[in-house]
């Protein structure tokens, strides 16, 4: 057996040598900009990774804490003259931390037991949703506090209700296109948010695609993408279970479409982080190569014209702005496609906000572990949204969506948050 405590990090050793400590990352790092402490920024984290590899430091709770305090927004890499992929080094080091020390309660417990079992997760959420509607008064429309155990995990944030009916109860496994012949047969990966919380958006996505001649298959065997477990917490074991499940679920499709930026990015990362055997390497590479985000699928793959994008009736006359999810913008390089869609909408005004690509501070587990810091980062985003003078901020990542929703509500701001598919009429 490989006894090295840094077995994942060792795979990235060459990357750790890319940083020449110029400090350009300090200017763009959302964490460093708030705290001004060196261990927060990529340069510092890379030095910690090097110290682990050369034996100057050993993994412990303190060091793991420094590793978790990163939103993986990749702004550092974008600004870096040598393009050092330090957030990826951080993920690898998190995996070593998780393996040697475990993932802290209750997160570890939840990842291992809930993310790998779709039915259990659904029942758990439904159970939570029942108490939520029974015990909590509605607040700000659909936003309520999640009760009990969930509230403890989410630090009492504003979160939307768990839907009474999940997506798999609303759409069939195979959805034939409306027209006579199908242009493509695709797999649909809704992700947890579109499956359990916003199933109406998942349904809208399926309807939109079938309307445009696409046959949509939503395999029932698929599960969570595993982002929180393996990218956030470094729990690669759980990550592999998710990856195995998903890679096996999609068969005979031209590509796999998801509307969630984080899912798209995470599914693409399987071969890079989780492929520990030749079989997995092959299966993951094949699966990941097929993943495409809905914004790119509609504009690049289907080449839909501007006229294909109708404005949802309730949006007419509104001013829209776009928030770039990091997973879409910097991780996958998708910047123009969603803007193209928004700009093609009739009867709405598209306005670019300043620093649209700046991280909102959500980053899954990050926002739970460092709630106050996450809110400080969000406040800068809210200021950008306000500066744009838009009524509605549109994004394509449920994580960003809730971060913005939650922080706009905290600051009592009138702006609405919508997902990309939400603004489209069908």
């Amino acid at each position: 057996m490989n006894a090295s405590p840094h077995k994942e990090l060792e795979r990235f050793e060459k990357d750790t040598e890319q940083c020449m400590k110029c400090g350009f990352c300090t200017y763009v790092c959302p964490v460093y900009q708030e705290e001004k402490i060196e261990s927060g920024v990529a340069r510092g984290k890379n030095e910690l990774a090097k110290a682990l590899l050369n034996g100057d430091l050993e993994m412990n709770r303190n060091l793991a804490d420094r590793l978790y305090k990163c939103t993986a927004c990749m702004a550092c890499t974008e600004s870096c003259p040598s393009k050092a992929p330090i957030p990826r080094i951080v993920v690898a080091a998190r995996a070593d931390a998780a393996r040697t020390m475990g993932v802290r309660f209750p997160y570890g417990f939840a990842y291992r037991n809930l993310l790998t079992n779709r039915k259990l997760l659904g029942n758990f959420l439904r159970f939570g949703g029942y108490f939520q509607s029974a015990l909590m008064p509605a607040k700000n429309g659909t936003i309520r506090h999640l009760p009990g155990f969930m509230a403890a995990m989410t630090k009492g944030r504003h979160l939307p209700t768990i839907a009474p009916k999940f997506l798999r109860e609303l759409v069939d496994e195979v959805n034939k296109p409306r027209g006579s012949k199908s242009v493509m047969r695709i797999g649909y990966f809704p992700g947890c948010m579109h499956e359990f919380v916003l199933p109406q958006l998942g349904k809208k996505t399926v309807d939109f695609l079938t309307h445009h001649g696409v046959e949509v298959v939503m395999p029932r065997e698929q599960g969570c993408c595993g982002a929180a477990a393996f990218l956030g917490a470094g729990d690669f074991e759980t990550g592999r279970k998710c990856a195995d499940l998903n890679a096996a679920a999609f068969k005979d499709v031209d590509c796999i479409v998801t509307g969630c930026a984080t899912c798209a990015c995470t599914l693409r990362e399987y071969p890079h982080f989780l492929a520990d055997t030749p079989e997995r390497r092959e299966a993951y590479a094949k699966f990941s190569g097929n993943i495409i985000h809905i914004s790119q699928f509609l504009t690049d793959t289907l080449s839909l014209q501007a006229s294909a994008f109708q404005t949802a009736p309730e949006l007419k006359g509104k001013k829209l702005t776009w928030h770039d999810p990091c997973h879409l913008n910097r991780h996958l390089g998708i910047k123009e496609q969603p803007r193209r869609i928004l700009k093609s909408l009739a009867d709405v005004n598209y306005i670019e906000m300043p620093d649209a690509s700046r991280c909102c501070g959500m980053a899954g587990q990050f926002s739970l572990l460092y709630n106050e810091l996450s809110q400080k980062i969000a406040r800068k985003k809210i200021a950008s949204i306000e500066a744009s003078n838009a009524d509605i901020v549109v994004t394509a990542c449920p994580g960003c969506q809730y971060q913005l929703l939650d922080n706009l509500a905290r600051l009592k701001k009138p702006q609405q948050v919508m997902s990309l598919m939400e603004v489209l009429g069908v």
């Binding site: 020449m20 400590k21 400090g23 300090t26 030095e47 040598s82």
Partner: protein
Amino acid sequence: MLKPDVIKQLKKIVGEDSILTAKEDLATYAYDGTTTWSHPPDVVVLPTTTAQISAILKLANEKKIPVTPRGSGTNISGGSVPIKGGIVLCTTKMNRILEINAANLTATVEPGVVLQDFNTLVAKANLFYPPDPQSFLGCTLGGTVAENSGGPLCIKYGVTKQYVLGLEIVLSDGYVLNIGGTTVKNRTGYDLVPLFTGSEGTLGIITKIVLRLVPKPAAKRTLIAIFDDMTLAGSVVSKILANRIVPAKIEFVDNFVIRRIEEKMQMGLPVDANTMLLIDVDGSPAAVDSEAEQVLALLHEGGAKMARQAKDDDEAALYWKARSAGFAAIYSAARTVVAEDVTVPRDRLSDFIKKLDELSKKSGFAIVLIGHAGDGNIHPSVFTNSRDKKDLERLDETLTEIFEAALELGGTLSGEHGIGLEKKRLLAKALDPRAIDIMRQIKGILDPNGIMNPDKIWERP
């Protein structure tokens, strides 16, 4: 190791949130932008007021604890590396811009303000702060004053010391000293402001800075020229200056750096160019146009293979971005990289380039050039991937030879990076011994216990 009692007192001064003692944090304050120097401190304090800094220094002075000042740690001299351990006093949390006075053309800032943040705000007032070290995205103003930093613009606009009007400094015994002021003219006794400017943190901690601003030039043109021969590029630079034209910037990038940047950033640079000159001219629109024309003519006359004006602001920005990435590109190119900072008189540039080529051939080490041709500061960088001790010793010899060659041409050891740890072994060769003696005596007056950034600038006698 510091006694727990000292840590307790420091905590009392700055508060629990502004002190770092975990070894995982200390490891991240062990380095600066150099490759070789590293040493962790015993404690890091991040004060937010002058009074806190005064209390810290009083304590450190009483207990004779080394204090290394640090901003963002982007310097490339080893200057902010706490080589003797002790306290790292980091000013990044003191980052308020206190005033921009558009009527007096001055700004008052705290030391932790990042240069780029300052530039952004100054530009909003249609003003301009010229000193432009290429670490502008990270470096703090306190750091640029302590290092007396310069950059491409210094050919026309000078370096940091030409812009510092007043300073608030905490001396090693905790005394808060105010020198200079907010006037452009100030002729009252010995001028102590430039003494602290460039003192590399060895004389005290800068806690407040009054800077002079200038109006933002109304127009700017960027010119790009390519040469097949490095020495030709060098002669052209001297020729431009001899024609009484002082561009805002004249930057020199050699083939290795062009290729290296292109490899990293894929921006469409001319990778087959032997040498590239990037030139900015600025001023009033009419003057700029005529100056740009004259420079273009001189470039063609001087043997440029290609010389043209940048198509638009975007293309100009692209080339300047490539230039600012240059150092990073070099530093990440090999295991051991030493960026020299020698500077020669501007009319000796092509002689120096020839000499460097000879030294590279003789030693077998790659020597690449990137830097400020307009002021004779072209940063020859020598590097090797070898871990062989003998090779590294030979590298050292080559560095000494480069420095000696520069000195022979009437040049200097360091143009803008400072001495720090990186160049102190050569200081005795670069200065009159009496000058070093005077410097030491000044240090003795201001820091009798030798706690301020110890072991920098001079070799121990």
